[in-house]
């Protein structure tokens, strides 16, 4: 019975704050006196701030859900409601399972105590029992990679060490539901990889993860579902790639309209971003051309694994259109983790040709050339009267210690300038980074 239930069910949840608590003014004798002298013109209701205006959200068991939205749109308030730190002003909230919240790393750390002592207290604060912490102590210490520093007072730690220790404890609590607020990027490259692996493990164990982040590519890559909170409401819930695309469009639209980016909770109507219906084709509207499938494939199959810069990749786009489609244009955009366009091209620009009314377009990248990182490939089919967009995320892993974004086809040649050396032949020393790219 328990298994089939959703992990978190929110029904029409509203959360208001008294304004004084937001402005950080406390009731003191002086402020009360001043208010009384002024004849208490402020009524209690007028100073209410509504952060969440009515949230309906269901988070299924075992899914990873990303929550996105502007700063101040109510994401963190929502997490605090789910964790039970705040109680909703109205509405109901149902939680099924043990929750562990990583809202802040190192809650309750005491600077004068050693790492080991802090693990104990922090673990207990996060909801473990003494015995559980003791049992996992070695595992946590190993994960934190602090070595012999573990018995030094925490105040002597560097901020990176502090975060690593805190993260190690937080991820060793064994919850059913894990709530994460923007903390995956902890420590150096190596450690953040390790943290990601830990998260993957959580996912594989079928735990429910709720993640608040501004890193949209994380949402695209990681989450099964995305929820967009805007102006105190759930604006959209759905496939991560769709939600993030619309979110990005709404942001750029708002910037284009030079909408004031004021704190949403303080704005009339919740300060929602502009609607982007004009930019996003509705499914019912039946655009003249539709993308029925978008696949990325490599010589070794799909793109679930980490790709190598030398991999050959094919972009397969299935489309159907109504009637002839002389004016259909396929635009491919390759974007980095931050949404920056790395490469963009179009079929019509490069090879103008007559297209069938339905079929498949293949874009063959003989060599991926990209260095380690997260990327998104976006395909847009544009015709007069509408367009359709699909995107896929993929990841490239590091194989060589290189820097930058891409690896041009190259090879190294060393030539000696001294004629006395017997062999004055140029020496080719680089079979390693195979030029030409066909490996």
């Amino acid at each position: 019975m328990q298994e089939s239930k959703d992990a978190i069910i929110l029904k029409d949840v509203v959360k208001s704050f008294r304004k004084r608590t937001i402005r950080g003014e406390y009731t003191t004798f002086k402020s009360e006196l001043v208010r009384w002298l002024r004849g208490q013109r402020q009524s209690r209701d007028a100073s209410l701030i509504t952060a969440l205006r009515g949230i309906d959200l269901t988070i299924p068991r075992g899914k990873t859900v990303g929550i996105i939205g502007r700063n101040g749109s109510g994401k963190s308030t929502l997490l605090k409601l789910i964790t039970g730190i705040y109680t909703p002003t109205s509405g109901t909230l149902e939680i099924n399972g043990r929750i562990s919240a990583l809202l802040d790393l190192g809650a309750g750390f005491h600077p004068d105590f050693s790492g080991r002592e802090n693990i104990l207290i922090n673990g207990i604060i996060l909801g473990m029992t003494r015995a559980e912490v003791r049992a996992r102590m070695d595992e946590i210490i190993a994960f934190s990679e602090l070595g012999e520093f573990i018995d030094e007072p925490v105040r002597t730690y560097s901020s990176g060490m502090y975060m690593r220790l805190a993260f190690a404890v937080a991820t060793h609590v064994d919850p059913d539901i894990l709530i994460i607020d923007e903390i995956l990027a902890v420590g150096d490259e190596h450690f953040s990889k390790k943290s990601l692996a830990k998260m993957t493990e959580f996912k594989r164990q079928g735990k429910t993860i709720v993640l608040v982040t501004h890193d949209l590519s994380t949402v695209e890559r990681w989450c099964d579902l995305a929820a967009w909170i805007d102006g105190g409401y759930v604006r959209r819930v759905g496939k991560p790639s769709e939600i993030t695309t619309e979110y990005r469009q709404a942001i750029s639209l708002a910037e284009a309209q030079s909408a004031a980016f004021t704190p949403p909770a303080l704005t009339e109507g919740g300060g929602a971003l502009p609607e982007v219906h004009a930019a996003v084709p509705e499914v019912e509207a039946a655009p003249p051309v539709r993308l029925t499938g978008l696949h990325l494939s490599t010589s070794e199959g799909g793109v679930e694994r980490e790709l190598s810069p030398e991999d050959r990749m094919e972009v397969l786009v299935d489309f159907t259109s109504e009637g002839t489609c002389e004016d259909v244009e396929f635009v491919v955009a390759l974007k980095g983790a931050d949404g920056q366009l790395l490469y963009g091209t179009s079929l019509r620009v490069e090879e103008p040709r007559q297209l069938p009314s339905s079929g498949r377009v293949r874009l063959v990248l003989e060599r991926l050339s990209l260095l380690a990182g997260a990327y998104t490939l976006q395909v847009t089919a544009r015709a007069a009267g509408g367009s359709a967009t699909e995107s896929r995320a993929f990841q490239v892993g590091a194989t060589e210690p290189e820097q930058g974004v891409f690896r041009p086809a190259h090879r190294w040649v060393v030539e000696s300038s001294s004629p006395s050396v017997a062999s004055s032949q140029p020496t080719d020393v680089s079979p390693r980074l195979a030029g030409g790219g066909h490996r």
Binding site: F17, R18, T21, Y26, T27, T28, F29, K80, T83, G84, I85, Y86, T87, I99, A101, L103, D104, A107, G108, H110, D112, F113, E117, L120, I121, I124, I125, L126, T129, R130
Partner: protein, 260 residues
């Protein structure tokens, strides 16, 4: 009240760890370390001894011992409500980040100071023995008196901690009132030095610490059983106060995370 106590029991692991940490943290980094648990009240006592045996002469036999008997539980009480008042408002880092019952925090303060009190008991007994006052069988009631004081202190601390979240002046008001309260309680002087019977009755009725202090002094210094009547009344009042304190606490706890 039952919910409050039940949650405390559920989170006893957390409470225990926090108390342990407070005890360790208090003197961490200091050269004499744990010895300060004994040194602090001793030095405190010596100041008053100097005042009352040299400057203002009092004719009380074994005066340092007499004063110590009252001073130790008083220190427990005053540090508890002094620290307990800001127990919740000072722990913003915990309350806004992790979910746990807020009453753990003021309870930690009271229990930590209770531990300090218990640890310094051997010092008090030792001082008594030095003056030739061996403890008698009357001390069997000590745990009962201790329990009454614990309930009373907890109740008061909960109320102060809950109100101080929104009304921060309270912690300063408490700090000053404690001094007044100290002199209104028979710690430095025997209660019997107040001649007027009516004033004595009034003080006992208004100040629960009178009953507690005289009870400790009866058991350890005068070697007799404390008066049962006032103690039983105080026990009942303390439980009632704790009941009231928990309802105040319960009604305000939702605000804690938002207001601090």
């Amino acid at each position: 009240m039952i919910r409050l106590v039940r949650e405390l029991y559920q989170y006893r692991g957390l409470l225990l760890s926090l108390v342990q940490r407070e005890l360790k943290a208090r003197y961490r980094g200091s050269f004499l370390g744990f010895l300060w648990t004994f040194l602090n009240p001793t030095l405190h006592m010596l100041v008053y001894v100097l005042l009352f045996t040299v400057v203002m002469r009092q004719n009380i036999p074994n005066y340092p011992f007499f004063m110590f008997v009252g001073l130790l539980p008083w220190i427990w009480f005053s540090t508890s409500i002094g620290g307990g008042a800001s127990a919740i408002s000072d722990r913003r880092d915990l309350l806004t980040k992790v979910r746990f019952p807020a009453q753990v925090l003021p309870t930690t303060v009271v229990v930590t100071n209770l531990c300090n009190f218990v640890f310094s008991l051997p010092l008090m007994l030792g001082l008594g023995i030095a003056y030739g006052q061996w403890p008698t069988w009357h001390v069997v009631l000590f745990p009962a008196v201790l329990l009454v004081q614990l309930i009373f202190t907890l109740a008061l601390t909960y109320i102060l901690a809950a109100i101080n979240v929104t009304f921060r002046d309270l912690q300063h008001i408490v700090g000053n009132l404690i001094t007044l309260w100290f002199f209104a309680s028979p710690v430095l002087y025997p209660f019997s030095t107040i001649q007027d019977e009516n004033i004595r009755t009034l003080m006992t009725a208004l100040n629960p610490m009178v009953t507690l202090m005289t009870s400790y002094q009866a058991m350890f210094y005068e070697h007799r059983l404390p008066e049962a009547g006032p103690l039983l009344v105080l026990a009942a009042v303390s439980v009632a106060l704790l009941y009231g304190a928990s309802s105040i606490f319960e009604s305000r706890r939702e605000e804690f995370a938002e207001s601090i």
